[in-house]
Symmetry: C3
Subunit: 173 residues, 3 copies
């Protein structure tokens, strides 16, 4: 089965403007806009960050809160008329780690869906591997999971961007 | 009022060569060289880093120590014959945070000046958002302030570079 | 004496795919493949990472475990028929720091060799300077050493790549 959709991966650091850039790309498609929010508000700071993102995003988005079952949500809204913005993969990985999920299997399942989807999909993720090796073991594992997933998605994606200071640099496509 | 000047933003990691690259660009303009140093020597290590930078820079620079009042200094040396190297924005943000200053307002004031300046301005800053989320809350706030300011300046700048291993990658311009 | 060899520097974050990319480049040369492993297995986690790298690499590599005497190893296998993959410079610097070695002198000696070598050399290294300033002084020194060495090698190298999500971005060459 050939994919009729289109997959973009948008990588960037914290406050790099990767979400805003991805939102502009999504709006420019003119398709029905779906926002898949993977973030869980564990505390007030996180809640404030999520609320700020929502305000920045503006009107016209259907939001799907999806901390864990990403593929389930993607399947339920997969259609050629839809653009789906997933923000972000790193929060999804964090949630999976907290549930002791099999992250490689979850990644494989996401990959399989992306290979066949008919929607326009934009995946946003944090690049987290460019600092000093973290002293915390869980942080090192998280870095490994994120890096591996980025590589696997980038290999299949139609386009990959690295965003810094709000400016996109095309790595692929 | 239209700007007659020219604004460059040079981003990079620690020891990426962003300052040396910016100094070479400044020298190549042939204009009067002004160095705006935002760093404050809190301790011996910082003092040594500042001294090393000064030696690397060589002769012919007028230095302006400016931990806080960046726009005041920029106004005082704004002229079409001047090239002004600001090194660096991240230290300026650190100083502002320590003074509990309103960083968004300070950023807006800097932006307003850059839009109207007649000098050649080169702003150097550290990209700090590409590692693991810091456990320290103040570090997370610092990352947010830096990232937001980079985005705002990049949107207005004539040129933006990302420097790694001493090599500039043009992101805009 | 003119260099007949060819030197590439491949920078990237943790789990960026920089080693896999470098291996593919090495294999594509069709030359005799030499792998210079600088990592020391201090603990079980590190041992597992080294073993995983070895499995990923596949057959046909002659491996040279070289935690410290990098130039000695490079000299012993320097020949126009050889491609030498050094993985990685950051682990080498870590080992040198633990031995209280003169890292600037070691870097100068490596540079001198690279300027004259006849082999095809690919140096892999971690970019570690794009996160928040580490609180640990040794980590800050490590960042400085790594950044300085990257700049020096990049200035001499024929090619420099920055790898993210397995995708190479050419910075030089």
């Amino acid at each position: 089965m050939t994919r009729s959709g289109h997959v973009s991966l948008v990588l960037g650091g914290a406050r790099s403007g990767k979400s805003s850039y991805s939102e502009r790309v999504a709006i420019a498609t003119g398709l029905e806009k779906h926002y898949v929010a993977t973030g869980r508000a564990y505390d007030a700071e996180m809640e404030a960050r999520i609320a700020a993102h929502r305000t920045d995003r503006g009107e016209g988005w259907e939001t799907h809160e999806t901390p864990l079952d990403l593929v389930g949500t993607l399947r339920s809204i997969n259609a050629p008329d839809n653009v789906i913005l997933i923000d972000c993969l790193t929060l999804w990985i964090t949630n999976l780690m907290m549930e002791d999920a099999d992250i490689d299997a979850e990644g494989a399942s996401l990959l399989a869906h992306l290979r066949e989807c008919s929607a326009r999909v934009i995946l946003v993720s944090n690049e987290v591997g460019l600092g000093i090796v973290p002293e915390n073991r869980m942080a090192r594992e998280f870095r490994d999971h994120a890096g591996r997933l980025h590589q696997r998605i980038a290999a299949e994606a139609d386009e990959v961007f690295f965003v810094a200071a709000g400016l996109p640099l095309k790595m692929k496509g």
